[in-house]
Chain length 376, copies 2
């Protein structure tokens, strides 16, 4: 926990559950990324943490923004971003939202289908488009499905058609999966991208950019490689496949920029057993899957925990949230251990919760308020 | 779709996605339940749909309320319920919330552990407590986990201790699982409950009530038995196990009261294929798992769909939501078929969405607004 967050929690004693985000950590992460990947234009994936304070700070540092919806575009514009630094990165957009984004000056749009291409031709004539291709997500802790991206041969045709339609066939994007732990995945994906570039060159089209997507990790239960290893792997793959004709590079970090900046402080509501011979205790927190910890679904993201009783003897627990929904269980299979003396009222801190937490929270499930977030 | 909802959608043309709830259907469902289970006091499970209009109408009909949190208690009190008709049914409660509920006049609390019992002794002295026991959930489409309830022998001890602590050991509750399709499950559970009653009688304690929980279904893709079948099964089991000494009966309907009252209208955002040889189309709606359809998780709840092109030839689809999150897929394995002519801008209605939809919606995920609800 950063000294700034520790001081905030001690001095302010906000009601739990609450998320405290240290903006200085995000700033530092952004600067590190710029330093280690100087060729890449950083498009912060706003969906990871859409707090106005986060967007404003990153805009002041010169970041660009990857947005998923018109409200995210307006959020960025209201907090210091200029339209030319905004990418409308969702491949699924209503045509009127495309028109409204175009009206606000946005000129960069993601596609992965012909219908979407035609919408952009009609609603955002002359804009840059990049086509997302499907790649493997082996090694990702939060793997993506086939929902986004299309086959490479379809992508080639779409980019050709973009040119015919008076759009600018700007480039190609891919996403190796969120919290990707296998550094070779960028090499595999970039091999596909480079072939697509040369295929299109044969068809008379010079693509200009590669959007490397996201995938860099935050620090959850398992140790992860540090940023320089990721940056080296990416640049090695870029150089291997593009030689000295390196295209414009875009990168869309979300989790890796903001994940480690946040501490979620919660309180133990109950410690109990279901039967006299139960080997494990149930520990119920005042935060669960519906008010902030959605990514514990299927126990995919395993956060680091600390408690006010650390150092004492520990034993295995099942961790669950406070709602009456029985799927509101955080960790059952993941073998978490917590101090045997833990009891109702004790504080538990959940680390690296700066990404994909507060914005995911249910508006009103079981009457529990959405997770409150403080940016300091 | 009810005539009232059809007229509302045609005349008001609200922006999609939106949920329209017909209060008259809920009123009718409530009256049916009272008619077929006249011995049971109905505690509406507020979490199913916490709209103020729903609570107000049910309060005016004389319903009692099962609540999961202090905000839900306040919602009920603000909309016509009196404190003596409110049960604080969550077995996981902060002690200060128990105290606040007690301060507002609530005198009926659920427990399933000794720690919770002691909290109630301290914060709500003299109150009625009922103990939730673990039962099988075989046959439930939304089965509950072991999160709530305790073993029967532990329940007996807790209810004895309640008496010692000056509390009123009021009764026993169980829950056979949500959207339960096996009518025998109430018989299995009530056999356990009756044994607990007689065990406690031997120990000098006369329990007064059985809380039958929820479990009655809404009408999703599969046909379900009508209410009279459920009511008969329950009363048959009660009579079988309690003879002519029938305890006070509580029932906590949520889904079965409000589920069928709602129509969620959405719009097709995109229809596409990922590759030229894809056999199935992807149909992306403007509503998904994060703005209303959380119960499509693992494709558990399979809603009925209608479209503006029904009657035309259909073909299989994968149905997905509008966010950039790749888990935002509604149905992949469930083999939904939709008209081959379906295209962006077309309306799709999702039926029986009155329960566990709007309140589950994320506050701000990907910038998408929570689902808007109209009660008519």
């Amino acid at each position: 926990m950063s000294e700034r967050i520790r001081r905030f929690l001690e001095q302010q004693r906000p009601p739990t559950p609450c998320l405290v985000v240290d903006l200085e950590i995000i700033r530092q992460n952004y600067c590190n990324l710029r330093e280690h990947l100087p060729l890449a234009q950083v498009f912060y994936a706003v969906k990871a943490n859409p707090a106005a304070d986060v967007v404003r700070m990153l805009a002041s540092e010169g970041s660009s923004f990857d947005t998923a919806s018109l409200p995210e575009i307006d959020l960025c514009l209201a907090n210091g971003a200029s339209a030319e630094n905004i990418s409308f990165g969702n491949t699924i957009k209503k045509e009127r939202d495309i028109a409204d984004a175009f009206g606000r000056g946005v000129r960069l749009f993601a596609i992965d289908s012909q219908e979407e291409l035609h919408k952009i031709q009609r609603a955002a004539p002359g804009s840059r488009v990049y086509c997302r291709i499907l790649v493997e997500n082996t090694g990702a802790q939060w793997p993506l499905s086939r929902k986004f991206g299309c086959a490479v041969d379809m992508a080639a045709d779409l980019l050709c058609e973009a040119q015919t339609l008076g759009l600018d066939p700007y480039g190609v994007s891919f996403h190796v999966g969120s919290q990707q732990t296998d550094l070779d995945q960028w090499d595999v994906a970039l091999a596909k991208v480079a072939m697509l570039f040369s295929d299109l060159q044969d068809r008379g089209i010079e693509l200009k950019a590669v959007n490397l997507g996201g995938g860099f990790p935050a620090h959850y239960q398992e140790d992860v490689e540090a940023l320089p290893s990721y940056a080296n792997a990416v640049m090695h793959a870029v150089t291997k496949h593009f030689g000295n004709r390196i295209p414009a590079l875009m990168i869309e970090p979300g989790r890796s920029l903001v994940g480690d900046s946040g501490i979620l402080q919660s309180e133990v509501v109950l410690v109990s057993r279901k039967a006299y011979d139960d080997e494990r205790r149930w520990v119920f927190l005042d935060v669960g899957r519906f008010n902030g910890l959605a990514e514990t679904m299927d126990e995919a993201i395993r956060y680091r925990l600390t408690t006010s009783r650390d150092g004492e003897e520990t034993a295995p627990v099942i961790l669950a949230g406070p709602t009456c929904d029985s799927v509101d269980i955080l960790y059952d299979q993941a073998n978490y251990c917590l101090p045997v003396t833990l009891q109702a009222g004790d504080k538990v801190e959940i680390h690296s919760t700066g990404a994909y937490t507060a914005s995911y929270a249910s508006i009103n499930f079981n009457g529990f308020e959405p997770l409150k977030q403080y940016c300091i």
